[in-house]
Symmetry: C2
Subunit: 431 residues, 2 copies
């Protein structure tokens, strides 16, 4: 893999936004500021939580090991390949890369995506595909296309709050779906919801892989209730231990159409987040609604980044490096989990995730408060994501999310040693 000195400034800046709460503090400031003589900001902006302010402060700490964020390892980017592809794309397709493009995306790229996701049961066409400016834009467009004020969104819990943030301007009601709770019933959970939001492959924050049976039940429940079923899949390509279950999109396609599923994909974990290229796959009427929402959002995604994405998909680069990237991250995951077993198993329990970027640890000891661990951790020069930032109501204090993709193995081990000292300090002050 190519090596270079990462732009650590940008990395440090961004390491805190994995949970999508980076700027909630700005809203706080806006609310508290001496009101300028100007019209007020929209109502949804005036919410926040205190932990975010602390996250921001953490960026300043020298020697900190940050396992809070959700960043890939920059050394995995195929820099030279992308540089060559970019220059050739602009020379070979000047009008397409430098001009305006169709709102729905470049036909050639849509066709690449349609082919990749077609199955023996169903051939997808371009009418099933919208190119989005990142996976996050897919979430934003779904909110625009589906939500009126106070509509209900059912969401896998705990979840990536960045997703919920994308919908907050539309002021929906959030209903938690806890797939692990004993009485979970997909039919009840979806009743009356405009859409259900799920991340079945190595969910953020839990790393959980949803099994085939539950996937089938979710598709059936969505079909029965008329709820759209969002399958957000940023992490499916980061798969370390075995085959994935069929996607909910594939399951729905067995009936010859995409049914209630809206599948969201992204180039971010396949090759590079900097492209900001993602896609939605769904029924043509949903693609048309999303396209109308995209028109007023950014008109079209950059032709430069779309054409690069298209040529990367055609080139075979992704397939050629997939095993290597999986090896790289599997070793980091194993290093983190080994250190956790050695230093944290008295106080926490967790499952080793089969893919993705995160280990989700739950406290065995009810006295543990991970918001406070986060604070002490900064003094010990380790930064974690406490569970409260994955709870729309900010109440869960018994868990934490640890990232294993960004840091080298020796740093992960050291981070867990620091975290163990952190827990010891917490227990002393608590008792």
């Amino acid at each position: 893999m190519p090596r270079y000195t990462p732009d650590t400034c940008a990395i440090h800046y961004l390491v805190f936004i994995g949970e999508g709460r980076r700027l909630a503090h700005a809203a706080k400031k806006i609310e508290n500021a001496k009101a300028p003589d100007r019209a007020a900001f929209a109502g949804w902006l005036s919410t926040t939580n205190e932990i975010t302010r602390a996250f921001l402060g953490a960026g300043e700490i020298k020697g900190l090991i940050n396992i809070a964020g959700g960043l890939p390892d920059p050394t995995t980017y195929p820099v030279e390949d992308i540089a060559k592809i970019a220059a050739k794309a602009i020379r070979d397709y000047p009008a397409e890369t430098l001009g305006y493009g169709p709102i729905e995306g470049l036909p050639d790229l849509r066709s690449q995506i349609a082919q990749r996701f077609s199955t023996p049961s169903m051939t997808l066409s371009n009418r099933n595909v919208l190119i989005t400016t990142s996976g996050m834009q897919g979430l934003d467009l779904l909110g625009k296309a589906l939500l009126d004020n106070s509509d209900v969104v059912a969401g896998q819990f705990p979840t990536y709050l960045g997703a919920l943030d994308a919908w907050r301007p539309r002021q929906p009601q959030f209903r938690n779906m806890d797939f692990t709770s004993e009485g979970f019933d997909p039919n009840t959970a979806m009743q009356g919801a405009k859409f259900a939001y799920t991340v079945p492959n190595f969910s953020n924050p839990t790393g959980r892989l949803v099994g085939t049976q539950l996937r089938e039940a979710l598709v059936a429940a969505a079909d029965a209730s008329g709820t759209w079923l969002i399958e957000d899949d940023p992490y499916g390509s980061l798969n370390y231990d075995g085959l994935l279950p069929p996607s909910m999109l594939q399951i729905a396609m067995q009936s010859g159409d995409t049914g209630p599923v809206v599948y969201l994909g992204t180039m971010s974990k396949l090759i590079s987040p900097g492209l900001r290229v993602g896609w939605a796959i769904a029924a043509p009427e949903m693609i048309e609604a999303l396209t109308l929402a995209k028109q007023g959002s950014d008109m079209c995604t950059s032709g430069i980044t779309q054409r690069i994405a298209c040529e990367v998909l055609k080139s075979g680069i992704i397939e050629a490096r997939q095993a290597q990237v999986a090896d790289h991250y599997r070793a980091r995951r194993d290093a983190l989990c080994a250190a956790m077993s050695e230093h944290l198993s008295d106080w926490f329990e967790w499952e080793v995730p089969a893919g993705g970027m995160f280990v989700w640890a739950r406290a065995r000891d009810a006295r543990i408060n991970t918001d406070r661990l986060f604070e002490i951790g900064l003094e010990e020069k380790v930064c974690i994501s406490p569970s409260s930032v994955f709870d729309a109501h900010g109440e869960d204090r018994q868990g934490m999310r640890l990232n294993f993709t960004l840091n080298a193995e020796e740093d992960l081990t050291e981070a867990i040693r620091r975290l163990a000292r952190t827990v010891e300090r917490f227990l002393k002050e608590d008792i």
Copy 2:
């Protein structure tokens, strides 16, 4: 200038979206379609007008000369320069171009923009600048940051409906500001509005240049009423006949801060729309609110396109080609206006615009209905934008917008000949 065969497919597709109504027909289809057994789309999607369907049909007509859209001439793009800059940007800044970046944009690019727009009265800092994924995203973020349902937006009339479309998901009330009407009073127009939307340089569709006095009055009225004042400036760089008045941003900055002005700029007309890079300049609290809205929209703009934009701004390419591009478009404007004088002056009147992309013609003859001229025009193989598509209420049938940037001079002349035949046919059927 480099020459190449434009990708005419993409061009034809896009030529119809200049007025931002491209996909209203999709909403119509959604509304009329046999309801699928799925949750309904959001309320704002179910509006349309009939003219859009006809626009779409026009894409199929062979030999059509299209003066309806708002596209630059693709031969003006500095293809080789951008190809080289792109490859170098990725090699020199791999983490920045290929990774996640700060939500607000690359510090180096924000600094470039801050320097360019600083004045002797005031030095702008990065805190005054947000990078947006195109100028359109700037409009979208403004809606998110400022509008709750039924808030009032005052907008320069007639206006680019694409802008109004960006705000429709927030369901505001639109109030027209007609700068040319005799009793126009900025104070009354802005009273109670969250923001006022203006395009003072060569507005779309009218090509009108707002004078210094009115700019000063708009800034003063915004300050007095507490209304934010949006200065959308995509066309300022397409200036053919003389110096521009000071921007409203500059006027506000005389008091030592940016006051009520939110200035929106874009690389689209400076160099290439394919970058999808724009910026907002405003008071820091507004930048923070827009940043919070951007976080849930696409997280950050592509590092690749931002770094290309930054290097283009530093390179001097823009300044080196500005006069050449102005000559190119001035000749086209003059060709269009000469043909109009020869063939259309009995029925229409217009002012020759000093910049931008459009001539706005008003009927002298009250019998003329430009929606009908649009339809007959397609049979005569010329496509115009009728004034109804620039009226939020769709009522104005007495004007048309003609583009002079996309087509060569001989094609513009031929288009006007066809338009004259169109008017003659219309008058025969009318009488």
